[in-house]
Symmetry: C2
Subunit: 648 residues, 2 copies
């Protein structure tokens, strides 16, 4: 098998822009906002997560010789368990760790990964089947319940881990294991006679297969991903069929509807984002991948409608998504409760995956605006500043009952945010032919090759705390290049200079990206200024939960008020419409961040008396208050928190 | 065994007022607000509930000869099931039905009750043990898990049913069955050597035993109730002990803390209302009963503290209680979310039981105010106007997803609200020596004997729709009597006339009751006027969910706005602080009710655009709106509802 790394040389005309992300290994966070986050994740998060996987028995599932311990439980009477997707957790951990290895070799981490791979290889069944729990516990039940048991979801994460590990180290063993596993899936599922026409209810393998295809170039890998996406939602449902084969009644399905898994209708017919949020985002990511690889406008069209539905009607201001715990997902449009927001970290990360993929197809800043929103808010809130405590749910309001935890009984989120941050560099730049797109801002140095030319890009900026970005070019020789620079959707006043000369931004804007085409020489400078006054934002009137509430945002950063800063529950504050809010960089706050300070009123209980209800409103007294970036909440003393503040 | 009906002749001095409720059979709702509700419950609710109990297989648990059907399942791996408290459901149904039989004999209902009693008697074990599910399914496991399996809770409801049925019909069979069951409990539990020192985690049998004692006069019945209440919360916990006996680990308790069952400390030490709301209310009802029967100020004192905690910090404005679904109960003080309010119907009914008992001990209107609050709001909302649809949870805000159901997998609430309404008369009046207390207002005719004198009381009123109450006395001979007339706590301007002469209300008020002592003659009239302007109520500043919100109340009736009346989600309304709100009796609304009408602003989405968030608030347009009594919501077209309206 050959492993072509670059399949750019295709001939047929393409329907879409085909940007290719600049690999994360080429982008170094050598200062600024992301430096400390990426170092913390590499040096603290990755090692402690391996420790947790060991302590919590996740790796014990790989002790194939030993009799199953009580930890590796049989399927519960509910039919559900976390056990059978333990593979996904160490798959994601391997992926996260691998992204650090190229630039920061670590023999200890490599040895830990090799040990897992050896055990996986040892456990793999002769026909290629691979799911540790099934192999140990219920080998006869494999592939009998794609609706509930996540076998391909788990394999998908192992595939992503194997690809990342190969790319980091060049070691093929894990990759070969997973290619054999994929061969087995190809032998088992598909439209050909004798195969099962199934697909996994929890999407993930689809996008993993595209990733594998991009590495291997094996068309069967792309074809399998395409089959899974095309087959999804066909009626009568495969899930009904397999349920009956198990002697069970499809009507007893605990989630009631296959919309839970976006399998209620063919994907191209779907117009509203429904069901389990992570599943939805993984599916849509795969749809974007297949639109790209198969040059399929029908999938791009479906993605566009779904994206607009999500952004326009179902997304928290933080980029969190999926308001409901009961289905870990979506309910009705405009249902965005704050205190009970589920808004799983994984879902925000997965929206990052999807929106990034959409931007490669169609360079529109609405996609990269969403990416930036989750990056500074609803995804980053999922990990603590110390790098070893997490949120699964990312509420927008708390009375102090929400605390970060060291581990979770369903620990999908920690490794997801870890792999996102360790691969963060790839989200900054894309390139095609003689074009470079700059999606994100933040201090970094990137080195890339474009049309055979070495290009060095250096962003000097304190973004998102500061409005100014200097982009310095390093070139070996003068080169004609088109830069496409994202002008953030939140910014109402952006300016752009090239070597000191201000450009007409309005004239150069295409889908939210400023286009600058010229011959560049070494040392050229692009300067961008994104005015970022404190914004007071209001929710659509259909969002009942946010009636008479205001959210504070500065640049891409959403703010919240924490009890620990103001000495009372923020729910007692009333913000006046004309309050002046002043940003100030507070270097003492968790490594340094811009805080907002201003005047507010506080509902006073002193003269209220012992009753709970009274026929006059609480008296209000003036006071100052402080707001901090939402992603930094719950890193200090416990207490209440609020994003949507009451306006008076 | 003798059955003394009247044990009033005791000699020792008592610590408390000892009012005795006037039996519900002596109070006829011959007009006014409660007439149609009580007729509906008797003629529709009682028969349909028996049909549901049959259809849903609840009575099938009594087919002791047949092998258990799949419906009668073994204990689930979770250790939990509804099956083992099916007895409680038909126990409560028998109680509810019995309350109607004296004044409305119904051979068909009586035959249905007799059939159940016969089957129960047949199934009862030779030693008196009685729980249908255990006898059929797990006889060896009886009394092994008082923490989870509700055996005494179920027996308690059967005892209440048996007492009610005996009092209605004079038939002793059911009563004898339950006395034998109580004998068995007495043989099994207690402090004596050889007995188990257990008590049921779900309180109920305690208050049932006091009820039984009041009928039988058997001091062992009172002693057993006293033992259960005194034993509760003793450490080390009996629940730990029995859990270890089952070979399980007490640390695995699914609810984490015995506070769930108010068993975390001795009851006299408890100061905050915690845990499962219905359990708490049943316990406190029993504590009030035992304070009364045992003349025990320590229990009264504990009840007072707990009552003040509940009313002052944990009660919805509707009288709903227990905000959280996860423990069906309390969380932290001032946690009163609206859309996720659990506020179980049973808990509101049970608060009615407790507050009514407190008022007999200590005639303070704070207790009967609470009783009236649940009566017109948070309990009555649990049953539909047609008498055969129910709410288990009584939210204070909905986006339209809450609909009433015909039956429930845990159908404790329907029979609870049914027995409450069929026995409602008993809550109106109490008597002691030469005193009559009038707790509630609403058209009715009551006949009682006091010191051997026949007294007829006739309330002529449209209360709660109208402010005027005429209380006409019927007497055989002139009689000196003290009337104690509740002046509702919500009323800021009440007036009282006796035979046309206005009294000085301020001077006559004792703990919220106006005291009128004089010699009365036949035809005397007491007239009361309770001014009931529309009140705008605000919640304590610590209730974050109600910040900048206003609730509307008129008299004892809390209002809500339903989408079906205003054509949009009420969450879009903004109420101005100076809006005029006009009450109007709408005879077309569900049998007739006072509605409130006024001006409001509506947040408009027309000029909003496709985005979810915007840097200017929604524009507001003027409109009218209507509010209806909360207890009538969800009886018409489905749609959103809101009690706490946003104030602008």
């Amino acid at each position: 098998m050959s492993l072509p790394q670059n399949k750019a040389a295709e001939v047929k005309p393409r329907a879409f822009e085909r940007f290719v992300p600049v690999d994360h290994t080429r982008v170094a966070f050598d200062g600024g906002f992301w430096q400390s986050w990426s170092e913390t994740v590499r040096s603290v998060t990755i090692p402690t997560q391996h420790r947790r996987l060991e302590e919590e028995g996740f790796l014990e599932v790989l002790d194939f010789e030993k009799p199953p311990s009580p930890l590796v439980r049989p399927i519960q009477p509910s039919g559900l368990s976390m056990q059978h997707f333990f593979d996904s957790d160490f798959g994601k951990w391997i992926e996260a760790a691998s992204y650090t290895l190229k630039n920061h070799p670590d023999p200890d981490i490599e040895a830990k990964i090799d040990a897992i791979v050896e055990r996986l290889e040892h456990g793999q069944m002769p026909d290629g089947y691979l799911n540790s729990w099934f192999i140990r516990r219920e080998p006869d039940k494999r592939w009998t319940n794609l609706r509930d048991l996540h076998e391909m979801y788990s394999m998908g994460h192992l595939i992503e881990g194997a690809v990342a590990y190969f790319e980091a180290t060049g070691k093929r063993r894990f990759l070969d294991v997973m290619i054999r596993a994929v061969d087995h899936i190809i032998d088992t599922f598909g439209t050909e006679p004798g195969k099962l026409r199934g697909y996994d209810a929890h999407e993930e393998v689809e996008l993993a297969l595209v990733k594998l295809y991009r590495l291997t170039g094996d068309p069967r890998h792309l074809k399998l991903a395409t089959y899974f996406v095309d087959e999804r939602g066909r009626m009568p449902s495969y899930f009904d069929e397999e349920t009956r084969r198990r002697g069970e009644n499809p009507a007893d399905y605990v989630y009631g509807t296959y919309a839970y898994s976006q399998a209620h209708m063919p994907v191209r017919n779907q117009t509203q984002v429904v069901g389990h949020a992570v599943r939805a985002m993984y599916l849509f990511s795969a749809m974007a991948d297949l639109a790209y690889e198969n040059d399929d406008p029908s999938l791009k069209h479906a993605c566009d409608r779904l994206f607009d539905n999500l952004i326009g009607r179902q997304l928290y201001i933080t980029g969190g998504l999926g308001p409901s715990a009961s289905n870990e997902g979506f309910t009705r449009e405009y249902d965005l409760p704050n205190t009970t927001a589920y808004a799983e970290t994984c879902a925000a990360v997965a929206l990052g995956l999807w929106s990034h993929r959409m931007a490669q197809l169609d360079l529109d800043s609405k996609f990269t605006d969403a990416l930036e929103t989750i990056l500074f808010n609803g995804a980053l809130s999922g990990i603590s500043r110390d790098g070893e405590h997490y949120f699964y749910e990312n509420v927008l309001e708390s009375h102090g009952q929400h605390r970060r935890w060291k581990w979770h009984y369903c620990p999908c989120c920690p490794t997801n945010i870890a792999r996102f941050i360790t691969s963060l560099g790839q989200y900054f730049y894309s390139a095609k032919r003689d074009e470079i797109a700059v999606h994100l801002y933040g201090a970094n140095t990137a080195e890339l090759e474009i049309q055979g030319q070495f290009v060095r890009l250096r962003q000097e900026t304190s973004y998102p705390w500061d409005k100014d970005v200097l982009l310095a070019l390093g070139l070996v020789a003068p080169t004609r290049l088109t830069f496409r620079l994202r002008i953030p959707g939140w910014c109402r006043n952006a300016r752009l200079w090239v070597n000191g000369e201000q450009m007409d931004l309005g004239a150069s804007l295409e889908k939210g990206y400023a286009v600058v085409n010229r011959e560049w020489v070494d040392g050229d400078e692009i300067r961008l200024t994104f005015e970022m006054p404190v914004e007071r934002l209001y929710a659509h009137p259909a969002v009942g939960e946010d009636a008479q509430r205001v959210a504070l945002k500065r640049g891409p950063v959403v703010y919240c008020v924490e009890e620990t800063d103001i000495g009372t529950e923020p729910q007692r504050l009333r913000i006046s419409a004309d309050t002046n809010l002043t940003p100030r960089f507070d270097e003492t706050l968790l490594g340094g961040a811009v805080v907002l300070e201003g005047e507010a009123l506080e509902a006073d209980a002193e003269d209220w008396g012992p009753t709970l209800y009274c026929n006059r409103p609480p008296s209000l007294k003036g006071r100052t208050f402080k707001a901090i970036p939402y992603h930094l909440w719950a890193n200090r003393d416990e207490g209440a928190m609020q994003v949507w503040l009451t306006e008076k």
